[in-house]
């Protein structure tokens, strides 16, 4: 690969990210790139033909027809090419070895088994993929899936804050028991906090009793709202005691006994440790941001079982991987999937209607039911990386809308892995991850001419030749 000095600086940019960038390169002029394309498929909005994409420091700043851009911009002439967002692979084990693991391992991550130089990222980006989410291997809950860029600085390929907890729900008890355990962990902390609060309240009461005689201050305070105070203190627990402890801390002067006791005890509440294996599930139950779960189910009935598992946990969010190896009878639950606007990853194929020789465009039906569908590789092999376009073209021929097919490769998987605001479409403030085709992207005969990650060209078919 050819790397000019310009590209080296891009490498740096990619590595350090936008924040640091402002700080370190404030004196320098931002790096501008302008892509003049024959056709721009933005995915999220309208198509431009021809169109211009303006990129500043690896981020898209504008897209449209006949846009102006700074004279210093590096211009990429792709007037005869079609540009679309880089493909996103929402679930793969490409080039990773299979090993078995069972049980709950929320503390493990697939990142621990990935050596960036050993995964065929070059093959991925040559097929148009700019981002891929790798899942850990194993049954049950084998751990966290991690997101990688397929090009750029090797140190900076791992995308922080993306990915999901990979859950295989085929055995119903796995997830049910794991969630139960996570709930117990939460209850354990709540209980410990309650005990601590009670202890503090008790201590405070004692301190107050000791103080009462000597302190005119406290008398004044209590004077007017005596009843209210007492009513508040006990049930409120945590907050009341926390606040008031803070106030009373500086005046232990007279109540010698109680003050000594106070000092001996730790002043802040220390939560008992959570079993790290269950941490992601605890976060899910507590609805923390940036935690996701992708549940793999193997047939339609498993969705009903999943609903039963999740019933006690209100509105727990999850995405779905519909495995198609054993059964493809998801048409039974189209309504249920549509109602929850499920985010779904599935292998693109014209599946058989179970027990028949009828071909059935399940993906089109899922889209029609208003699910957000993402395509995964049919198998984690090199040939499938490029064949995925042909498979989607098959589905388009069988009734799927082209725009939906584009989304299956870009925007929807980006959302699925938690990067919907960063990648997956060509619009302002998105990362400049682009793929250039010399024809229609869904035409199996068209080839990838160029791939760009964060505004940097990571693959150029013309230079390779």
């Amino acid at each position: 690969m050819v790397m000019g000095s310009l590209q080296n600086s891009f490498r740096l940019l990619g590595a350090v990210g936008a924040f640091v960038l402002v700080a370190t390169t404030h004196a320098q002029e931002p790096e501008y790139v302008a892509v003049k394309a024959g056709r721009v498929i933005t995915v999220s909005g309208e198509e431009f033909s021809p169109g211009v994409i303006v990129i500043e420091d690896g981020k898209i700043t504008a897209v449209g027809i006949g846009l102006e851009f700074p004279a210093s911009a590096k211009v990429i002439n792709a007037q005869r090419q079609t540009v679309m967002p880089g493909f996103v692979l929402p679930r793969t084990r490409y080039d990773l070895k299979r090993f078995s693991r069972s049980g709950v391992h929320g503390n493990q991550s697939v990142a621990d088994e990935i050596y960036v130089d050993r995964v065929g990222f070059d093959e991925m980006r040559e097929a148009g993929f700019t981002t891929a989410c790798f899942i850990p291997s194993g049954k049950g809950i084998p751990g966290m899936a991690s997101v990688y860029r397929t090009g750029g600085d090797e140190e900076a390929r791992l995308v922080a804050g993306a990915g999901y907890l990979h859950v295989n729900a085929t055995k119903k008890s796995t997830l049910r028991d794991a969630l139960k355990k996570a709930k117990e962990e939460i209850e354990k902390i709540e209980k410990a906090r309650k005990e601590w609060d009670e202890k503090q309240a008790k201590k405070k009461d004692e301190a107050e009793k000791g103080d009462d005689a000597d302190k005119p201050d406290s008398d004044e305070d209590d004077g007017e709202k005596d009843g209210d105070d007492k009513g508040d203190e006990k049930p409120k627990g945590r907050r009341a005691s926390d606040d008031e402890d803070g106030e009373k801390e500086p005046k232990p002067a007279d109540g010698a006994d109680s003050a000594a006791a106070k000092k001996a005890e730790p002043e802040t509440f220390k939560a008992p440790p959570i079993d790290p294996k269950y941490q992601p599930l605890v976060d899910l139950i507590e609805k923390k941001d940036d935690v996701r779960m992708m549940v793999q189910i193997s047939d339609a009935a498993e969705l009903l079982h999943l609903d039963e598992i999740l019933e006690p946990y209100e509105d727990i969010s999850y995405t779905l991987y519909l495995a198609t190896g054993r059964s493809t009878d998801y048409h039974y639950v189209l309504k249920q999937l549509g109602e929850r606007k499920a985010q779904i990853a599935i292998r693109p194929n014209l599946h058989f209607l179970p027990q028949t020789t009828f071909r059935y465009n399940l993906m089109a039906k899922l889209v029609k039911a208003e699910c957000e569908v993402s395509a995964v590789l049919y198998s984690d092999t090199k040939i499938e990386l490029s064949r995925i376009r042909a498979r989607l073209a098959d589905l388009v021929r069988a009734g799927l809308k082209k725009e939906d097919a584009y989304k299956m490769l870009t925007l929807h998987p980006a959302k699925l892995i938690g990067l919907g605001e960063k990648i997956g479409s060509i619009e302002k403030d998105r990362d400049a991850d682009l793929v250039f085709f010399d024809g229609d992207p869904l035409d199996p005969h068209s080839t990838v001419r160029r791939v760009m990650i964060l505004g940097e060209t990571v693959y150029d078919a013309d230079e390779d030749e």
């Binding site: 119903k172 339609a300 009935a301 498993e302 048409h331 209607l353 027990q355 009828f358 039906k365």
Partner: protein
């Protein structure tokens, strides 16, 4: 058919007694003045109350689910056979059967006039139609085998030690009863096992005697010592329940000598035993009757390699007999019938698999069992043996709304299930499944297919 004459006499009785039953909440129409409005209201209030206590939460979430069948002939099994009545069900339970049932407007309706309505069949052992134990964790409620089971008229099946429903497309109300039986093994090939089992029983029996003595002593002496019961856990606890009549034992026994040994065990410890197999039961029926055992049998059991039938060289009755069920029934032994293969199999077409549960019962008729009794062996008697006869096995108010609606006598080989209803939901519709829709025994091959003809999902939308 033989049925006819009997049915006609029943019709007379029925016409005098209809409406037979009235319970529940039919929500009378406001426009129509109802004779027994006050009565209905009273009943409605009553029903609301008892229901409210049970599932208050559920009611808040979901509306009541009504389902009404306009039935041609209703074979209640435990009561009279009814003609041209309406069966009204609410939330999966039968709430009213009669000629003038007021059906709530929002109710789902099924016009089955001209069809026969039977209680859903009970398969006392099965594999594949519902998931393996525990079925509520493993059942594929969209599986083809479940659909085939429903096509065979089965609505309740036993998997492992649990009875469950074939609740197509939903997990609601799947499990009927867990821990059906205590599994007993008293095999002559394991004398040591026998001794150990007897020791366990003896120990529990001694404990029960000690308890009685203690109860007597307690009256005289306040400080009497209670017998130690720390050991009464696990297997012992189950045996204790067994000997108190709270649990029923199940054992496999085909040969006469095996059957007799279990009979002895049943008499010795006063326990209830259900014998699976009971192939040679017909040779020792009075022994079985005395011991009070019940039997789960196949009319055409599998062929044994050592003994394929009556063996002339042995100077006693041995082997299988098609009369087995008839003879046992004549001796008052409760029997349930299952095919010898208890799964859905490809070689079972018109064969001995679970798809032909009704055919297996029909073969018992061939062996001399009355048609009534044969129907009972796959409905109410089977339910009774499983201890779930309060829920399934017959069409009665208060019981589960499980029906198989057929185009003829259920014991006839030409009869198909037209609809199968489970928990008040149509779980199988012959016209909407690919399996048997092309078979039209009534000869009406040119009848137009339904609007959403299979494969439904490939339709115009």
């Amino acid at each position: 058919m033989l049925h006819r004459a009997r049915l006609l006499t029943l019709l007379l009785i029925v016409s005098m007694t209809v409406p037979l039953v009235r319970a529940g909440d039919p929500k009378p129409d406001k426009d129509k003045p109802s004779k027994d409005k006050t009565e209905a209201k009273k009943d409605a209030a009553k029903d609301e109350k008892s229901d409210d206590d049970k599932d208050k939460k559920k009611k808040k979430k979901k509306d009541d689910r009504y389902f009404a069948i306009k039935a041609g002939t209703v074979h209640t099994v435990t009561g009279a056979t009814l003609f041209d009545v309406t069966i009204l069900t609410k939330n999966g339970k039968i709430i009213e059967i009669g000629e003038s049932v007021e059906v709530p407007e929002k109710a789902e309706r099924l016009d089955a006039s001209g069809y026969h309505v039977y209680p859903g069949l009970v398969a006392v052992s099965s594999s594949g139609v519902i998931g393996s134990e525990p079925p509520d964790d493993s059942t594929d409620v969209f599986s083809l085998t479940m659909t085939i089971g429903l096509a065979g008229g089965i609505t309740t099946a036993v998997t492992g030690n649990t009875a469950g429903k074939l609740t197509f497309s939903t997990l609601e109300g799947l499990v009927v009863k867990r821990d059906l039986f205590y599994k007993l093994s008293y095999s002559s090939s394991s004398p040591d096992g026998r001794r150990k089992l007897r020791e366990k029983f003896d120990k529990v029996r001694q404990y029960m005697r000690d308890l009685e003595i203690y109860a007597d002593e307690k009256k005289k002496d306040d400080e009497a010592e209670e017998p130690d019961k720390e050991w009464l856990t696990g297997d012992f606890k189950k045996i204790h329940a067994l000997m108190r009549g709270e649990l029923v034992a199940v054992a496999s026994a085909d040969r006469a000598y095996e059957i007799v040994q279990y009979c002895e065990l049943a008499e010795r410890y006063g326990i209830k035993i259900v014998l699976r197999g009971a192939m040679e039961g017909w040779t020792v029926p009075s022994r079985m009757a005395r011991a009070g055992v019940s039997a789960i049998l196949s009319i055409r059991p599998p062929i044994f390699s050592t003994d394929t039938g009556h063996d002339e060289r042995i100077n006693r009755k041995t082997g299988r007999s098609i009369e087995n069920a008839a003879i046992l029934a004549r001796h008052g032994i409760p029997i349930a019938i299952v095919p010898s293969v208890t799964s859905i199999t490809l070689w079972g077409l018109a064969g001995r698999d679970l798809l032909h549960l009704n055919m297996e019962a029909a073969f018992a008729v061939r062996g001399g069992l009355s048609e009534d009794a044969a129907l009972r062996t796959i409905t109410i008697d089977a339910a009774r043996i499983l201890g779930i006869d309060h829920r399934v096995g017959s069409i009665e108010v208060g019981k589960d709304a499980d029906f198989v609606i057929t185009d003829g006598d259920i014991l006839h080989y030409m009869t198909h299930s037209r609809w199968t209803v489970v928990n008040g939901r149509i779980a199988y519709d012959k016209q909407k499944e690919s399996l048997y829709d092309h078979i039209r025994p009534d000869g009406n091959r040119d009848a137009p297919p339904p609007d959403d003809y299979w494969p439904r999902c490939l339709g115009t939308n």
